[in-house]
Amino acid sequence: MSDSASIMPEHPPVTDWINDFDHTDPVWTEDPFPIWEELRAASPIVHTERFLGCYMPTTYQAVKEIAYDTEHFSSRRVIVRDVRPEITARAPPITSDPPEHKPAKQILLPPFTPDAMKKLEPRVRAICNELIDEFIADGKCDAAARYTKHIPVRAIAHMLGIPEKDGDLFIKWIHGILELGIKDDNALMEAVKEMTGYFAGHIEQRRKNPADDLISTLMKARDKDGNPLTDEHVLGSLRLLLIAGIDTTWSAIGSSLWHLAKTPADRERLVNEPELMPLAVEELLRAYSPVTMAREVMKETTVSGCPVKPGNMVLLSFPAANRDPAMFPDADKVVIDRKENRHAAFGLGIHRCVGSNLARMEMTVAIEEWLKRIPDFRLDPAGKVTWSEGTVRGPRQLPLLFGKAS
């Protein structure tokens, strides 16, 4: 996804962040943290005319108010884009509002409990080691291209019961939907079409030969009236699992390795005190939350006292909430053993990420296995770290050198 900037149609550069923000601006992509501070100092919620009108809550409190308010804010559109076409491809439950939301979500929750993730864990450990085997002898690698990118793709393929080698197709579709699709409706539609065709084939196969995998689980599921889900619902949920599960976790693992590469003190602590991992993973999730969601304003209301008007989108920035110093002391510092940490990296309220237990397991395993085999590493000064654009933030090029600096 590193080539996205050159393909996307240009937006005029931002000169006034407070009244004209743009989360696809290269300055934001490179380093959004000072921008969020500026916006937060101005108002708990800011507005831009871009994207046909869009708000952004800047404080934890404002993000929370919107996340809990399903009456005034709809989830039917979950990405802020240049266009707002008719809604065709749904992805329940992420795009569902109450009352449809709960039954759709309850179908997906059991396969993603912490216990279910424990069963998947050995496969993920093996995947990490297979990947490390491929580059460890080189003494360096682009960790985004060769490590972090492949872990979630293979893990979700394993869960869905489709060939792990089809991962490259998934990556292509996700790029079309999450990055190109922000500004190019054709790229989005093309990716959705290919993906739908791919899964329709797998659904047909499962009809003949049911299997013990997530596709079959969805096909066996019943709605609240006892009827099977429509193919459209199954396809929508599969689209969601794929889109939501891959570059989010790829980003979270990548940002974590990026942090550890440039922060030897934290890296050494984790190597010497592995019992810190659970707290460290949460802190890395807080500080480098990859996912920003969206809502659509349906009815006029107020957020933290500020009026918001229907017809606008909302950039629901969990990452900005997680950097709010009113909620987190030293919010701009990574404190890897932070004790009080109610971060919102997986959202708040009914749309809490279904895959959060999977993401945590993948992050933990990916960092643990990396540190076991490559305890010392640093950013390669000859390379350049690049970041994804738009809804999901994480390194797309992460050149690292192994071993201690000489």
Binding site: P278, K339, G349, I350, N357
Partner: protein, 69 residues
């Protein structure tokens, strides 16, 4: 000495983040959907007080109530 602690998960607020179970597996259980409830009657055995507070201060939904007798 502080008094005995009790924990309670508010079922309307809990969204199944599972932070409580991961930080204090002795004190919380998850149902088949991954939502939490307190083990037994929610009384915190001696020695687990810190874990109860840790779980409480990491629940993103503020769904865990800790009371002191």
């Amino acid at each position: 000495m502080a008094g005995k602690l009790n924990i309670r998960v508010d079922q309307d607020k809990c969204q199944g983040h599972a932070r409580c179970k991961s930080l204090a597996p002795e004190l919380f259980e998850l149902d088949e959907f991954g939502n939490a409830h307190e083990v037994g009657d929610g009384s915190v055995p001696a020695g687990l007080e810190d874990k109860a507070w840790l779980a409480q201060s990491n629940c993103p939904e503020i769904a865990i109530e800790v009371t002191e007798e």
